[in-house]
Amino acid sequence: MKRIVSLFMPCFVDQLLPQVAVDTVKVLRRLKFGVDYPEDQTCCGQPALNTGYWDEARPCAEHFVRVFKHADVVVSPSGSCVSMIRLFYPELLAHSSLRADSIALAGRTFELSEFLVKVEAVTEVGATFPHTVTYHASCHGLRELKLRDEPLQLLRQVNGLKLIEMARFDECCGFGGTFAAKFSDVSGAMGNSKAESVAATGAEFVTAIDPSCLLHLEGILGKAQAPKRPRTIHLASILAQQNQPRMRP
């Protein structure tokens, strides 16, 4: 067995999208990593930080650091949540006794595709997914973690998968956490624009490295109730697929 990976499962993945987590476990175990899930983890604190409640976010960050500080490496199927740990914890915990731990942890915490491609140099994970797929570059993965090509490298190695490029692949889907609630009309309009870009590709699936974008897009696409619409699928769930009958798009 290779190194032990500690899973950081964002709270909304844990609660609403457990399949993304299950598929992450599946992929890591197939690649012979040991997988650990520290059960005391809750939320990284990003919703509070993004809404301006840094005093509320800080204890959550400290809790997170305590839970994960002994982990060898931390992997998460969300670019946005990883960017919280990597970019904002050192600032948020600047005056905390856990500052040094948080900086060290920031250097050991990776988004899934980043971990596989950049850290472990793996692009072939033995996945088969005979479908047309378009890729949405999630904002925080792209601009905070600078992950442009890593997810695409993994997708290109998937058997049977046909990648179709989307116009404005790097334009925000409109989710933005509490933005979707505070400015629901604008967020919905941005989501509709994104859904149009997705639909214009004609792909059966749209994938991304951030489950939050996909949760939003799934909601937008689902509301339209088009009879034959693209489905959302997280990168981990594509990588988890092996030889099996075609999924019903």
Partner: protein
Amino acid sequence: MSGAASSTAAQRFLRDAAVKSADLTHREVIRRGMESYEAAHRKGRARIQDWEAARQRCQAIKREAIDHLDRYLLQFEQKVIARGGHVFWASNSDEACAYVRDLATRLGVRSVVKSKSMVTEEIHLSPVLEKAGIKVWETDLGEFIVQLREEPPYHIVTPAMHLNRGQIAQLFREKLDSGITSEDPVDLMAVARRKLREAFFAAEMGISGANFLVADEGVVAISTNEGNGRLCTSVPRIHVVVTGIEKVIPRLEDLAVLWPVLATSGTGQGITTYGTLIGGARREGEADGPEEFHVVLVDNGRSKLLADREQREVLHCIRCGACLNTCPVFRHIGGHTYGTAYPGPIGSVLTPHLNGIKEFKHLSYASSLCGACTSVCPVNIDLHHHLLQNRRNATEAGATKASERMMFRAWRFVMLHPRMYALGGWSMRRALRILYGLGLAGSVLDPMRVWNRYRAPVPLPSKSFRALWKEQLGREELGGNQSSAD
């Protein structure tokens, strides 16, 4: 909360944003405009050998200028005064407007021609002059169009980008010449030109902004495309420059990189059609130029921002408009919705500082924090992180709703107690399943009704990942195919 009669800036924003984001014609007009900008911008950047290096150089120049603003402004002032010019330091918009109005009144000015200046929009100069009985002509074509429509500029670089040629032809027919039949841009431009030529030669005062104030030479640098800037600054007998104190740069040679970078980011041009350097009034033996030259240096909240080490770099902005063009929120709600002189990401960062965090904090929240703005900023301002800092400042200033503060306190409590979090999640999913089972999704009872307005309900699996992990996943090696958790 203010009374029902006058709505707050935040309420107006929400209302206008809802209307505009549902306006598909508007979305299409802006999408087309932005697509042609993007193509030009891409081509423009490719002409610069190393775009990232150019951005870093511009950032370094602006940082040097802002970090030593006192020194460079005084140097600029000294040079201007030495050539017989006047410099007025205005601490706020009232002082700036009063200076220009009093100057105009004293010198018997009846009409003013203006070239494009966002600072004059910021301080609301034109209404002050008009109230004093002075006719004000906007001479930038886009500004001229929005002035005729009696609306503010839509965008800081392209003020009339929300209008098509048909709308402009209609406007000109109504306001300028009922005989106009053509919708050809060249013909329409000719109509505007005839009108504006008369204005240029009648005006006693020209008002311009400044793209840069060059400290070592004491000159004002202006980039324009239509030639109206040169006419405004050279034909009338008085020239007044109204600009912000953050526009100063150390050296003339800095323009070698700032001018092309500004043009590239603004319109995709290698350099704008006209680059004008103005040092003062007409001197002995010179053929043209004004008799008097005034520079109004406007603070209006900028020195407060200068004192804020964390956010000082917001003053590096060169007003190119690139962040507006790339912003998905701007593209959907348009420039007018912001209700401020500076719309888009830079406006959302800056306005709470200039006009008050309590009234304008909503702008800092009106972003998905996607970071597209930061990725295009030619002076590398970390725009979306400044939005985040504004949000923190708003919270610390107690400007957020009590209900929201309570909610986040409760949220923190739950997140610090893993079992409570697990139980809370389970209960919430279960409650929503029951509610949705009764067909009450989107009803007043539905806590997710805001989400459900534009989106299908979120999935509500019976088991969370942590439950699955506890039951089996944690123990077994995952071999075959896992069935869906829901």
